[in-house]
Subunit: 212 residues, 2 copies
DNA sequence: TAAAAATAATAGTAATACTATTAATAAACA
DNA sequence: TGTTTATTAATAGTATTACTATTATTTTTA
C-alpha cells in the first residue's frame, strides 16, 4: 500500500545523483511549471526514459527533493534539541534554522546543496500539497518530514507555554511564515515589514507571534 | 505598459460569462493543473480558440478569478469599515469575512458564486504568485486587490495597536493563515488545532495571534 | 564464460498549449 | 434597406509535454 517517492533510489547510482542534483538546479532556475524531464535529460546528456526509471513523474520528484530538505532540517533540529536544556533556546534554534539553514552551526552532512533546497522550498514547497492528490500523498506519508518537524516545534511551544491552546497551529504558522514573509520581502514588499534579505526582520516578527 | 488580465472582458458577452462561470466550477472540480481550455470548451460547447480570445492563458484566467474574490472581499470590508466606529470590531469583521465570506451580513452583489471563489482561493490562490512571472505580474498590478485588503487590515491593526511594529506582516499572516489552517484541518490535520470545518477554531487561533 | 538481471536508449502516442487562418455574425452607416 | 466593416467564433493546424512499450546494452552472478 505504502508507496515510495522514487521508483529506484537515485542516491544508489551516479546517474541518479546527477538527476536529482541537476533537477534541483533546473527547477530553481526555470520554475517547476516550466521544468520537464526532457529538459533535465538534455542537461545531463541522458534520455527522458532514463529519468522516468527513477521517478514516476515530476511531482514525485519535487516531493522527493522537498522531503530531503525537511528531513535535513528535522535532523539538525532534533540533534540540537537533545543537548539544549532550555525550551526557549530550542525554539529559537529551530526558528534560526528555518530562516538560515546554511549557517555553520547548523551543518550536518547532506549530499544536497541546502541553500538550493531552501530556494526550492521557498518557491515550490506549497505546490507539494496544493493538489487533488493530497489525501493519497498523505496516506503514503509523503508529508511526514514536514509534519514531524512541525510537531517537534509544537511540543517545544507547549513546553514553553503549557497553557497555550494552539501549539500545532502556531508551529505550522511559524514554519510557513518564515518562508512566506521572506518571499514577500523579495517580491511583494507591501505585504511585509521585513526588509529584503533581512532574515532578522522575519525573526523579530516570528518572535512577536510567539510573545517572546 | 499596464496589462489587463483578459484580452476581452468576459463580463461583456454571454459566452464570456459562461467561460468564467464554468472555469471556476471546473478548476474547483479537477484542480488547476488538470484544467485546460480544451476541457473547458467541451464543457460549454464552444472551442478552445474562443476561450483564447478572452484570456491569454490559464494562469491569467486564474488570476482573474482570484482577483474577483479579493475585490469582492475588499469591497465588503471597506463598506463595513466606514460605518463601524471601533477598530477592534472592524478587525473582527474582516476576520469573520475571510473565514465565512458567504454569511448573510456579508452579502453584496457579485455575479460570481462566492463559495466557489473561496474554494478556488483556498486551493489555488498561492499559485498566482508562486511563479517566475511574479515581478512582471506585480508591475501589471495583478496582485492589487489582495495587497489592498492586506493594507486595509494592516491599517486597522495599527489603529488598534499603535505601537505594534509588524502590522503589515501580521495582516498578510492572518489572511494567509485563515485559509491555510482551514486547508490543514481538512487534509493535514496534524498541522493544526482546528477541527474539520470549524472556522470558529481558526478564528480563535487568529485572535490569539492578534492578542485579542 | 554464459545466462540472467539490471539499466538505458529508441521510438513511439495521446494530450496540452498554443497560433494562423478562415468563416460566420453583428454593427455601423450610406 | 442593403452594403461595408468590425467583431466574434470555428477550423485546422504545430511544437511541446508527459508519458509508455520495446529493444539494445551493460553489469552481475552462477
Amino acid at each position: 500500500m505504502l508507496k515510495r517517492l522514487y521508483l529506484k533510489n537515485p542516491q544508489d547510482t551516479l546517474l541518479g545523483r546527477q538527476i536529482t542534483t541537476k533537477a534541483l538546479q533546473l527547477i530553481n532556475t526555470i520554475g517547476f511549471e516550466a521544468f520537464t524531464f526532457k529538459k533535465l535529460a538534455l542537461n545531463i546528456k541522458t534520455t527522458e526514459a532514463s529519468v522516468y526509471r527513477y521517478f514516476e513523474n515530476k511531482h514525485h520528484m519535487l516531493l522527493y527533493l522537498v522531503n530531503q530538505y525537511w528531513t535535513h532540517i528535522y535532523n539538525v533540529a532534533q540533534y540540537h534539541c537533545q543537548t539544549e536544556p532550555k525550551a526557549k533556546n530550542r525554539i529559537q534554534f529551530i526558528l534560526k534554522l528555518i530562516l538560515n539553514p546554511e549557517l555553520p552551526e547548523h551543518k550536518i552532512h547532506t549530499s544536497f546543496d541546502i541553500n538550493a533546497l531552501y530556494q526550492l522550498v521557498l518557491w515550490e514547497g506549497s505546490k507539494t500539497y496544493l493538489t487533488r492528490n493530497v489525501n493519497q500523498f498523505n496516506k503514503n506519508l509523503f508529508f511526514k518530514p514536514f509534519k514531524e518537524l512541525s510537531l517537534l516545534l509544537a511540543r517545544e511551544i507547549k513546553i514553553f507555554h503549557p497553557t497555550y491552546k494552539f501549539s500545532k497551529s502556531l508551529a505550522s504558522t511559524l514554519l510557513e511564515m518564515a518562508h512566506l514573509q521572506h518571499f514577500y520581502s523579495l517580491y511583494l514588499p507591501s505585504l511585509t515589514d521585513a526588509k529584503k534579505n533581512q532574515p532578522r526582520d522575519v525573526m523579530r516578527f516570528l518572535n512577536q507571534l510567539l510573545n517572546m
